[in-house]
């Protein structure tokens, strides 16, 4: 094949970069801004469509008002997601040119297909939002379905790339170049893809559900509690309340897969210094070189959870050279944050479900609504902590066991300037999003639907 004859010089050489940490932080910031918006892309269209479906079934104008107002929030958040997503695609080249230059042929397809998902989402979100009252009710509903589907396929594609970075396959390295490339097998034949996808997909519903509910819970504490607000709280909260206990099970599945495929990441998550049989879990505490200090030990729990055996052997950080280990405390605390918040969210969800099912009404205690106001932002913290666990836990590798992050980074100067600029711009974006959401919330309800 002619491709095989291409000279090996087309591989880019790693460059020195004094600001590798800043580059990583810049990437992390961009993800942290984008990922909560992705949750709305995954989950919110389905919620809006459900409410519109209620309207089509019942003819109750309240549902029409709710779906229409939510769709404005949806398009505003999508617009912000478009720009933060575009920034991420720029950063693939601006920050990590060696990563894309070496492995673009392996993982790039995922993003190319994701681009089409993004396209369909953008097209139909335009039709849906501008089509209120301009398309027939049925066709308007139908025009929203591709938005919901594209939100899912887009996240599938992006996560297929992340799963590949964590568990790379589908190529061989020859003189710094990827050869024997099989992109479909690399992205979709990857055993690491499915648990990550399901975990993120369920997280999308939890985050979007709790965040929307938190907004209306805040309103209730200030006396806004007509049927409109109750409906707008109950629907997303029911989804989140059902999804959060499920996430505990899915998270456990994630942990077992990581234990098999990335033992070093698991060791960092648990602060396990030495390979151990019957390994314990420590809650809280601080990792020092030798192990976790001041933590609350639960004997044998790690062996039991990760391998379902009392005395299973769990690989410790000592299995690899110190230079191949991730920063333990960052990973460990991110993980504990995620698990802690996730557990509390599941408890809150079960409380809500029990009250709804037994009393056939919404909870009445203001403490429940105060908890909800906290649960919304907390779910975002758990989401980001989860991504910190998987991404920082993969360090020092950008492609696990294949390419170091330091080999991937750009050789261009000026990273601190770019980082500072992006921080300022994203603070502005956050302020803008806060302003627009407030603005949309303040718009008066139509009189007909307020009852």
């Amino acid at each position: 094949m002619c491709e095989a004859m291409a000279p090996a010089t087309v591989a880019l050489a790693p460059a020195h970069q004094s600001y590798l940490l800043q580059a990583r932080q810049m990437q992390a910031l961009s993800f942290a801004v984008h990922i909560p918006l992705v949750c709305f892309g995954i989950a919110f269209p389905a919620m809006v469509l459900f409410v519109e479906w209620l309207y089509l079934r019942s003819g109750d104008p309240l549902y029409h008002t709710l779906a229409q107002r939510w769709s404005k929030v949806m398009v505003a958040l999508f617009a912000v997601g478009v720009i933060t997503g575009t920034i991420l695609s720029f950063e693939m080249g601006l920050l990590w040119p060696n990563f894309t230059a070496t492995f673009g042929s392996v993982f790039g397809l995922g993003f190319a297909i994701e681009g089409f998902s993004f396209f369909l989402e953008a097209i139909f979100i335009g039709i849906y939002v501008y089509g209120w009252g301009r398309l027939s009710p049925r066709w308007h509903f139908v025009s929203g379905i591709p938005v919901a589907i594209a939100g899912f396929t887009g996240s599938l594609m992006v996560i297929s790339v992340n799963a590949w970075m964590n568990h790379p396959s589908g190529f061989r390295l020859l003189g710094g170049r990827a050869v024997d490339v099989h992109p479909l097998a690399a992205l979709f034949g990857n055993s690491y893809l499915w648990h990550e996808l399901v975990h993120m997909y369920v997280a999308g519903y939890i985050v979007a559900g709790f965040l929307v509910a938190a907004g209306y819970a805040f309103g209730r504490l200030r006396g806004r509690w007509r049927r409109y607000e109750r409906t707008a709280l109950a629907i997303p909260l029911t989804v989140a309340a059902l999804a959060s206990p499920v996430q505990v099970l899915v998270g456990d599945w994630n942990g077992r897969t990581v234990a098999k495929t990335q033992p070093v990441k698991l060791a960092a998550i648990e602060g396990l210094a030495k390979t151990t049989r019957g390994a314990p879990i420590h809650v809280l505490g601080w990792y020092t070189g030798g192990g976790v200090r001041f933590g609350i030990p639960i004997p044998h729990a790690l062996s039991l959870l990760a391998f379902h055996r009392w005395n299973a052997r769990v690989e410790g950080l000592d299995a690899v050279a110190p230079s191949d280990r991730p920063p333990v405390n960052a990973v460990r605390y991110a993980f504990q944050t995620m698990v802690g918040i996730g557990t509390l969210l599941a408890v809150l969800g079960v409380v809500f479900l029990v009250i709804c099912l037994w009393r056939r009404r919404l909870p009445e205690s203001p403490w429940f609504y105060r908890a909800l106001v906290v649960a919304g932002p907390a779910s975002v913290v758990a989401l980001i902590a989860g991504w910190v666990t998987t991404e920082v836990g993969r360090q020092p590798w950008v492609v696990y066991d294949v390419m170091r992050t330091s080999q991937a980074v750009t050789g261009a100067g000026g990273l601190p300037v770019g980082y500072a600029t992006l921080v300022i711009v994203y603070i502005g974006v956050a302020a803008g999003v806060a302003w627009i959401l407030r603005r949309l919330a303040r718009a008066p309800l139509e009189a007909a639907a307020a009852g």
Binding site: A15, G59, H64, V80, W132, A178, L249, Y369, G428
Partner: protein, 421 residues
């Protein structure tokens, strides 16, 4: 046509579409910026916004398309370009944040004062982004980007005569395209004063863009001689001729007030410049890298081409639907309510019968138990798959059981809007 060229042709086609679609969006931002004060200026700003709002997100995804195809099919070229040209690309990225932010904010602004504040604050990015992207293209076209991680000069690779020329051309062409499109939209909306305003703008910007293009040949002659030779006397010549002819035809159509046709002629003139660049530069992608050397392995090229063509089969009818709705005026102001906004069924009824909810309860419990067993206890991959499906079914069935819309209905406390706290 070889497999190694095909993704590049698709990427350039994407770039041309980005230029003629999103370029017009940036151009609209420039006209908002330069509208001045007073009621007339406000009408110009509103018109520029309302014409673009339904389509801007879709227009901007073309850039993401170009980036993804480039890094998949020509990864080493992409890495070299992105690292050497990191400054203009970062400026463009920041500009895109601001421009997109304008639309995100405007979906919630209602008073004209707010709209104007948002427009003016961010319209500056409408000049910045096309210039920066044009300057980056100038760096590639004048072969100032070598293979390697930031191997070229970080400054002169995009601050040079060719880059400044192409940046300026991108700005002028964006303004021109926007004025032509907005004229056509104003005709459809029946606003003669807006038609006059944008016709004048289109003529000025069109002549300016033409002058920059002609002056550009002089600049290319001295600064990017290979490109110049292959453009005026080589593979790029046909595209150059098409661009000149289409540009002249478009100006004539604008002069005569035939804006709907001018829309397409102007777009062809701009797209032909990109085609001419591609034709003139091949087979080089970078100064020391040919397309053949840059191309990804065979399997990748095949799947990316199949994915793009397959995606196109879904994409183009969808885009056609969006543009048909926009261009036929379906989304114009005042159209709301012309369709069917009435409730389809007057009598509210229970959405889901109680018996269905009872059954769903048993299904939900069964799914949850099955899910726990298959996902958490079992080890096999197939068991996990079934377990996940069971748990998702549990969520759906549980949702049916809870019936949140019914729960929110009772007890009805409509008489007092204040409670709790």
């Amino acid at each position: 046509m070889l497999l190694i060229d095909l993704p590049l042709i698709l990427a350039l086609a994407g770039l041309a579409l980005y230029t003629v679609l999103a370029g017009a969006d940036f151009g609209a931002g420039m006209w908002q910026l330069t509208a001045g004060g007073g009621a007339d200026a406000q009408r110009i700003r509103n018109h520029a916004h309302e014409s673009m709002a339904p389509v801007w997100e879709a227009n901007h995804v073309w850039l993401v398309f170009v980036l993804t195809v480039m890094w998949t099919a020509y990864p080493s070229a992409f890495g070299s370009i992105a690292s050497t040209l990191s400054i203009p690309l970062f400026i463009a990225a920041i500009g895109i944040i601001f421009r997109g932010g304008t639309y995100a904010l405007q979906s919630g602004t209602s008073t004209p004062r707010e709209v104007r504040a948002v427009d003016t604050t961010f319209a500056i990015s409408s000049v910045l982004t096309p210039f920066a992207l044009g300057a980056a293209v100038g760096g590639i076209a004048s072969l100032r980007v070598p293979l390697g991680n930031a191997a070229g000069d970080l400054v002169t690779s995009w601050l040079n005569p060719t880059s400044i020329l192409i940046g300026a051309l991108a700005v002028a062409a964006s303004a021109y395209l926007a004025a032509v499109y907005l004229s056509a939209d104003a005709v459809r909306l029946g606003h003669p004063e807006l038609v006059r305003a944008f016709r004048a703008r289109a003529l000025v910007a069109g002549v300016l863009a033409g002058l920059i293009a002609v002056a550009g040949l002089v600049v290319l002659h001295s600064d990017a001689h290979r490109l110049y030779n292959r453009l005026v006397d080589g593979p790029g010549l046909p595209a150059l001729i098409v661009s000149i002819v289409a540009g002249a035809v478009a100006l004539g159509l604008v002069w005569r007030g035939r804006f709907e046709l001018a829309r397409y002629a102007a777009a062809v003139a701009v797209a032909a410049i990109i085609a001419g660049w591609g034709l003139a530069q091949q087979p080089l992608v970078l100064v020391d890298l040919t397309i053949r050397q840059a191309a990804a392995p065979h399997d990748t090229l095949v799947v990316v081409v199949v994915a793009v063509l397959g995606g196109g089969v879904i994409l183009f009818p969808s885009l056609g639907l969006l543009f048909a709705l926009v261009l036929r005026g379906g989304f114009d102001p005042g159209q709301a309510g012309a369709g069917v906004a009435t409730a389809p069924a007057p009598a509210p009824k229970a959405v889901i019968a109680s018996s269905a909810a009872g059954l769903s309860g048993r299904v939900a419990v069964a799914c949850l138990i099955a899910g726990i067993g298959l996902l958490t206890v079992a080890e096999a991959g197939w068991a996990h798959a079934v377990g996940v499906v069971s748990l998702l079914a549990f969520v759906v069935a549980g949702f049916v059981v809870v019936r949140p819309a019914e729960v929110a209905r009772e007890p009805d406390e409509d008489s007092s809007t204040r409670c709790g706290a």
